[in-house]
């Protein structure tokens, strides 16, 4: 009898009954279609171009894998692979180790000044990666201030310099991930360990480390990806030490060998995609690690450990502030380090066409923030709420950009939008293409943030409004957006800050009239105008900090306004 119910399902048709296409559904589907076309035109198609070009010779004939064979057989170019892997691995280990102790001190002790230390450690995020390299040259280079006063030349040009500057640049990224992981501790486990008489070392090894292992792995993958895809640092201090990102630049800009550029790009994609894919898997587990019943851990008092860690954080913090001071100082003296009289002449940027680049950067960053926030949030909304057969593939596609190195994306845009006869050709050389490339380059994180925020909202909101005959876009505007405002503000800041400091994708796409500040830093440094380069860097950092401050104020306003309905507290005296 029970069997009779499970068989005979064949009689039920596989398709659901049709529904009249109303204006509302048509609008949603049109929105999804626009989103899909956007991802196709600005992500899939250009990336396919890179893959395709790597199989052609420079005259456009298909030569199969010959480019790859040549790449691996030419020692000078092939070395870039091992070089890239080497500096990335070393920088990853150093950064994560340093950041772990720092994050541990911030979260698990009550040492004084934790807020200040936290703010100081985030500073490097506001500067393009190459700025840290320039600062390290000022400090440790052949004519660096440290070199001059101590007489010790650490040999900054090459692998050592790359690793040093990358550690500085990646430190905040690793620290933020580890702080989050270390904050999510369950005090009950520590109580149990203490009750069982475990020593501090044993508790650390059996409770603390396993608790943050996914955070540690995630930090490793993020740093590895940042380093292996970074272009600015090796460009400035790499010297003859070639890595893949600079190799792409050399092939494309130096030798006009686009197919070899494409070949190196494809090879660079492999470790980047792998690291990102593993990171996604690891992150998914991290969420399941701490149960909702967990009790937050109150940091203990250990005096000696506190003092030691305070000293450690002080040292790192002083290092970061020191590097920043070098940047600022070198930009306001006549000729670092020989003539230290104060001057503002470097801020005239006479070798870089004045303030055009900075204004362009601010404009592009603002547009990226506005357009990027709209595209990612509306896109995530449509993908999440309007389940269609396209939702799965679109969500997968949205994960792709995070694993595409900026150099590869930039080259892809050259192939896609600098091809004669293409309709989209007129995008090339405009500010618009810079906005779009930033948007795609930094697409994944905001998209995931938006998706997570939307998932946390009651799925019945849309159903209730549908039943009341209210179109979805009105509910989107009146309920979804106000509720997601904090995360929307966060997304736009993420876009703005990254657009201000990015170099790798846009370095291929700037044209006369559309120079950007970060690219100007590179060109000024290349031209030997280091003081102007640091002056430009100071302005990039300052505008980033200012915007960060403004966002912070906005967010406080938003929080205050939404407090009435987010507070779950019930008024007293209710029956």
């Amino acid at each position: 009898m029970a069997i009779g119910r499970t068989t005979g399902g064949a009689a039920i048709p596989d398709r659901v009954v049709g529904r009249r296409l109303d204006a509302e559904r048509a609008l949603a589907q049109a929105g999804l279609a626009v989103f899909a076309v956007f991802l196709y035109v600005f992500l899939v198609w250009p990336m396919a171009q890179v893959l395709w070009r790597s199989l052609l010779d420079n005259d456009g004939r298909v030569i199969g894998l010959a480019n790859y064979v040549r790449y691996f057989r030419t020692p000078a170019i092939a070395a870039s692979i091992t070089n890239s892997l080497l500096v990335s691995a070393v920088a990853m280990i150093l950064t994560v180790a340093l950041a772990f102790v720092y994050a541990y001190a911030l979260t698990r002790t009550r040492m004084p000044g934790r807020t200040v230390f936290r703010l100081v450690a985030v500073l490097p995020i506001f500067a393009p990666s190459l700025v840290s390299a320039i600062a390290f040259v000022y400090a440790f280079g052949n004519n660096g201030i440290v070199t001059r006063y101590t007489g010790v030349n650490v040999g900054i040009y090459g692998a050592r310099g790359i690793v040093l500057a990358e550690v500085f640049y990646c430190f905040p990224h690793a620290m933020l991930i580890l702080v989050a992981a270390l904050s999510a501790a369950d005090a009950r486990l520590y109580d149990a360990a203490a009750a069982l008489g475990a020593s501090r070392v044993k508790t650390f090894l059996t409770v603390t480390l396993p608790g943050v292992k996914y955070g540690l792995m995630s930090a490793c993958f993020v740093v590895f990806t940042l380093v292996i895809t970074d272009f600015g640092v090796p460009k400035v201090v790499g010297g003859k030490f070639s890595v893949m990102a600079t190799e792409i630049y050399n092939q494309v800009i130096g030798q006009q060998n686009f197919t070899m550029g494409a070949t190196v790009s494809v090879v660079l994609l492999i470790p980047a995609v792998l690291a990102c894919a593993i990171d996604r898997l690891v992150q998914r587990r991290q969420y399941a690690l701490v149960s909702s019943a967990a009790r937050p851990l109150q940091p203990g008092r250990g005096r000696l450990a506190g003092a030691l860690l305070f000293g450690y954080c002080g040292l790192i913090g002083a290092g970061i502030v020191g590097i920043y001071l070098v940047i600022v100082a070198s930009s306001v003296v006549t000729r670092w380090p020989y003539n230290l009289t104060l001057t503002l002449k470097h801020y005239r940027f006479d070798s870089a066409g004045g303030y055009t680049a900075l204004l362009n950067s601010l404009g592009v960053a603002t547009l990226t923030a506005v357009v990027g926030t709209v595209v990612t949030f509306v896109g995530a909304y449509l993908v999440e709420k309007y389940r269609t057969r396209a939702s799965g593939p679109l969500a997968m596609l949205a994960l792709l950009p995070v694993s595409v190195p900026g150099m590869v994306l930039g080259l892809a845009y050259i192939f896609a939008f600098n091809a004669p006869g293409s309709v989209l050709n007129r995008l090339y050389g405009t500010l618009a293409i810079l906005v779009v490339s930033n948007l795609v380059h930094y697409f994944t994180v905001p998209f995931l943030t938006a998706t997570t925020t939307l998932k946390q909202m009651d799925a019945e909101f849309e159903n209730v409004s549908a039943s009341l005959g209210v179109p979805f876009y009105r509910t989107f505007w009146r309920v979804t957006v106000p509720m997601a405002l904090p995360s929307i503000v966060g997304i736009s800041m993420y876009f703005f800050l990254n657009a201000m400091v990015t170099l790798s994708a846009v370095v291929f796409l700037v044209a006369p009239g559309t120079e950007l500040a970060a690219v100007a830093v590179l060109l000024l440094d290349d031209a030997g105008e280091s003081a102007q380069a640091t002056a430009m860097s100071v302005l990039i950092i300052a505008s980033g900090l200012l915007v960060r401050l403004a966002y912070w104020a906005v967010l406080r306003g938003v929080t205050r306004r939404t407090q009435a309905w987010t507070a779950a507290t019930q008024p007293p005296g209710r029956g």
Partner: protein, 366 residues
């Protein structure tokens, strides 16, 4: 029911699959105007899917949905003219109570005055006038659910759909809200379909109950019918308590053998001699003590345990000489004193023939 007016909601041959899993199979049903119907069943029986198909939030693979005679199968939710209340309330947290209630009215391009009056009217109906300018997070669960109800009723829909509206509330609030919602439904005379897995809720609130299991309708009937005449073993097990006895039909029609005992039962449906059948009797239908002494179907049973439950005491009775699980028997608090009750004592027990049902594992009519 050959009524001149068409049913408020008519479902014809509804079937739904999720991939290879069949959620609903050939469900047909009519809900009369002003009726309060409950879809009752265990989780996964398809009751919520059926409600969402009525609402147009889910699309069926086959079948037709009609409302007041109009085929609405192809219409989006907004054009079907119903209000819905979800278990999660789904109140818009950033809008005040008044704005939540007004939400569906604005879309209908009513004037500001009219909206304000209607909101006040609805808030008075659910007794929340004082909370009009609060946010949902500042209200209790029961109050939030009343706001959700007011919001669903505000545009004066022809149909009210309730998806487990009381499940998220604690027991006392649930009980109070049960009566309030039922009274409100009576007063407004609005056709209502409620989904629930709580049989008590269904029995107290519904005019008619649709018992569902594994995507098919097991039985449709008034609460009294469902309780006293369960048409299948599943319904008997799911609604209320029922003692089930494995029996073999005797040659004499209307009689069956349970172990050493030969008992007379209701007689319908007819059973072939020698066939195995299940007999069912509710705990409160078993007679004990002096009253049972002279009655038919008399059995001697040993009291294995007595659980005090307040208004009644539940006895576990093991018929002497019979194997199988003990019978559950409820004795009202007032009648308890007449019994000389202690665990281990032997009592005369009667299983009244008119209470002994013959149950099939599937509805008899299929």
């Amino acid at each position: 029911m050959p009524d001149a007016r068409p049913a408020a909601v008519a479902l014809e041959g509804i079937a739904k699959k999720f991939g290879a899993v069949v959620a609903l199979r050939d469900v047909s049903l009519a809900v009369a105007e002003g009726e309060f119907v409950c879809f009752l069943g265990p989780s996964g029986c398809g009751k919520t899917t059926l409600l969402r198909i009525v609402a147009g939030l889910e699309r069926q693979n086959a079948g037709v949905v009609r409302m007041a005679g109009r085929d609405v199968t192809g219409l989006p939710p907004g054009q079907r003219n119903y209000g819905i209340v979800f278990q999660s309330y789904a109140l818009f947290p950033n809008l005040t109570v008044a704005r939540n209630v007004a939400y569906g009215l604005r879309a209908r391009r009513r004037g500001a005055r009219e909206i304000e009056a209607r909101v006040a009217e609805l808030l008075a109906l659910v007794r929340l006038e004082a909370h009009a300018h609060r946010y949902p997070a500042q209200l209790s669960g029961g109050e939030q659910q009343r706001v959700a109800l007011a919001r669903a009723l505000a545009p004066a829909p022809a149909l009210l759909l309730l998806d487990e509206p009381l499940s998220a509330l604690d027991a006392r609030v649930r009980l109070a809200l049960r009566h309030e919602m039922k009274a409100l439904q009576r007063r407004l005379g609005i056709t209502t379909i409620m989904v629930t897995h709580d049989q008590e809720e269904a029995l107290t609130m519904a005019d008619r109950i649709v018992v569902m299991n594994h995507g098919v309708v097991e039985q449709v009937g008034t609460p009294a019918q469902i309780y006293s005449e369960p048409s299948s073993l599943f319904v008997a097990r799911f609604v209320g308590h029922m003692n089930l006895l494995d029996a073999v039909a005797e040659g004499r029609p209307g009689w069956a053998r349970v172990g050493p005992l030969v008992l007379r039962h209701r007689g319908t449906p007819a059973t072939a001699p020698g066939a195995t059948v299940t007999l069912g009797i509710r705990p409160e239908e078993i007679g004990v003590g002096p009253a049972a002494r002279e009655a038919e179907n008399r059995v001697s049973a040993r009291v294995t345990s007595a659980q005090f439950q307040g208004a009644f005491t539940r006895l576990l009775l093991q018929p002497v000489g019979a194997a199988g699980p003990p019978l559950e028997c409820d004795v009202a608090a007032g009648a308890l004193g007449e019994l000389d009750l202690e665990e281990g004592a032997e009592l005369p027990v009667t299983l009244r023939a008119d209470a002994l049902r013959v149950l099939a594992s599937r509805p008899a009519a299929s």
